[in-house]
Symmetry: C3
Subunit: 309 residues, 3 copies
């Protein structure tokens, strides 16, 4: 593959070509080897500054990015949601101009507002890496999911990938969909009709409201995390009922192919989306997803850094 | 300039001679070049420990210091206001003795109590850098303001510098005044009479309660940030009225010399102290102030570290 | 001493042999010299990742560990009690599996649940260092106390060590007891009967409810910090009364040998456990304890890291 990466930002898989996605996956393969060494560092970003700006909290994603930055030898600044400047009413753009004036190189941003990273990327010279914006996009999560699928199955094209849960509010589902379709997989969205409206079919995916039917021929089953607060908003009647119809337990495994991968972005609601029997079972690749996330984030930061100024 | 820096602390511009101020400015000029390189680091503080103790929160100043420390290759510990030891009722001095026993080298401290850094500097062998104490002093902010003025105007002596806003409660105004007067500038304080009492004249500055009159001959206009909570205390009737009489908008720019610098310590209340037209206009040097702050803080930490033990 | 350290975890002094305790103390002696250099770093943990997971807050212990990690050149991740993953209801073990999947090497954990570190150590390949669990164990605190005693007195065997205060709820007291008894010291627990039940005698210590009697022949007096909230639970009638009977003031010093060491794990409630006259007096080694804590933690991390995989 001879593609040269040319983007200073990673905003969404929707924006990327098939070759660009493959470029990230292949680069991540190289970085995965680094994390298996005893000294897990390379000097690729030495003297560069990365700011982690998490306006919406997320320990897991923040830690994964921070470790990726450390292993690239970057200087790191962590800024959190309730940081004082925001309390003082400063605009997000003023904060970012300020960070840019401090000669930071890359911002890793998580924000509850859809499109915030895109808006910032147009206004700033720094590299912007989207760590999740609203219900819109979470590209590094989708890339690590696709990396894990490719690593385990050897390819992505032609695979039947089923994504189960609250598709309506899920940036993980949307990002996976864009990436998987570009790489030639067949994508099914499964879940209750309130959370998986039929309209998604217009984007090129199959919509299915029965879990047994959805997983029957699946090569990969990606279980989304249920947000408990959705229950209060009436999207599903109870956690118990959701789990009964759309969770995977030992019994449901009889309807699933023995070589199908079970995935979950974490953290798992044990007994809701997955029984422990399944979450910790032989078909689960959930912890491999975590390990691969580090390699994906190292690759993204490395590629983006190469396109600055 | 042959002055050798000899102080283990930076407490206030009031304590510094003209030559000491120039020594910091000249050292900062050298460090500004470091931040423009691709690898923005020097090993000057390698193996030294700097503790950022922010008993009063401030994301901007803390991040600026932390970046300065990273670029000097220091080891860094961040301790915040609501840290557990303080909740347990330990005295500030005990906390600092404890940090000193851990062989930290420099403390960067922000504290709401006027004089806290001076008290600590007398009691401890570590270097103390004042990052703002009460309404008293904020020396690195004033140094970066003066650095920016000197860089843009070529000199400070003889310039007319107007500082506008809540002078009464502003450590930024006091610190600028001391530094600017020592370097031979003419200083005007402007704002409503409740916030700019006539008594300041005894310190050698001009006091002016009319903005048009104040800015008429100004070379530099430094707009202080309004604290919204002052309004509740009755220091001014409303934000709208404050802005009308003491904010700078496009119309007011007609009374300002076209080569006058517009400054602000940030974060800006857009539409209050400054219109966006002015804040983002050609006379604004607000983002340069941010960039220069990093160089000033690197210089201060470097000079102080050279005088320990 | 030829003992080779073979444990991937440090959980409790109860688990360690006399020789293993001596191995840590001797290693710490070497590391203490490192912290006295100008460049206070060694590359022993370069490229290794240490995660500080403080589910119960503690600024002092966290900072001491973080400095130890920096001086060993480790990569460091700080995760705090109120971190978002915990708010989302994830189990502790899932969080730790996740951290392990990110190829972290060592977890430093403080947790309010007794036995949490032991449970984790059995389930994980990472090294687990106990930074305090419930009322059970705080091994690095006890090791730094014993290190300080040995450094000042030249030996531990045969010394009379009195530990004063809320023994019932103190992991510091238990950990000191196990370590001191293994090294041949005589241990006395002193305090009100509600906080120092007679049952402790079965563990091989002397129990004493009169402070003058307890300290009469003491070589070392270790004063525990009083938790003010115990008063509300009725364990002692008032802070004033506690202090009168079990605090050490200038007057009480007349009953104490002039070469006895006064210790305290910090932070001190001045005027409760100790008068400032005593806390800052010539027999106090409280700040030496802090300094030695850094050396002990460097030693523990270094030894544990040598036994991974």
């Amino acid at each position: 593959m001879d593609l040269k990466w040319t983007k200073k930002d990673l905003l969404s898989l929707y924006d990327l070509s098939r070759d660009e996605i493959l470029c990230i996956l292949n680069t991540a393969e190289e970085f995965k080897k680094v994390s298996q060494r005893n000294v897990k560092k390379v000097p690729a970003l030495r003297g560069r500054t990365v700011v982690n700006l998490f306006v919406e909290p997320s320990t897991r994603t923040r830690v994964s990015f921070e470790l990726a930055e450390q292993r690239l030898s970057a200087d790191i600044i962590n800024m959190n949601a309730d940081a004082s400047s925001f309390r003082k009413g400063e605009t997000l753009l003023d904060t970012l101009y300020n960070i840019q004036a401090l000669q930071a190189d890359i911002i890793v941003i998580r924000h509850s507002a859809t499109g915030a990273p895109n808006f910032l990327a147009r206004s700033l010279d720094m590299g912007i890496v989207n760590a999740g914006d609203g219900a819109h996009s979470h590209p590094t999560q989708a890339l690590l999911d696709i990396f894990t699928i490719r690593e385990k199955k050897g390819h992505v094209e032609g695979l039947n990938v089923v994504i189960v849960g609250d598709i309506l509010h899920s940036r993980v589902a949307r990002s996976n969909m864009w990436g998987l379709l570009k790489l030639g997989a067949n994508v099914t969205f499964a879940g209750p009709a309130t959370l998986v409206p039929r309209e998604f079919e217009q984007l090129g995916v199959r919509v299915c409201h029965d879990l047994k039917e959805a997983v029957a021929n699946a090569d990969v089953i990606n279980m989304l995390r249920i947000q408990m607060e959705r229950q209060e908003s009436g999207f599903f009647p109870s956690v118990g009922e959701y789990s009964k119809f759309f969770g995977i337990n030992q019994d449901m495994m009889r309807y699933i192919k023995p070589d199908a991968l079970i995935m979950h972005p974490g953290p798992i609601n044990r007994g809701v989306e997955l029984d422990s029997f399944v979450a910790d079972g032989p078909q689960s690749v959930i912890l491999e997803q975590v390990t691969n996330g580090l390699a994906i984030r190292m690759a993204v930061l490395y590629l983006v850094a190469g396109c600055l100024k």
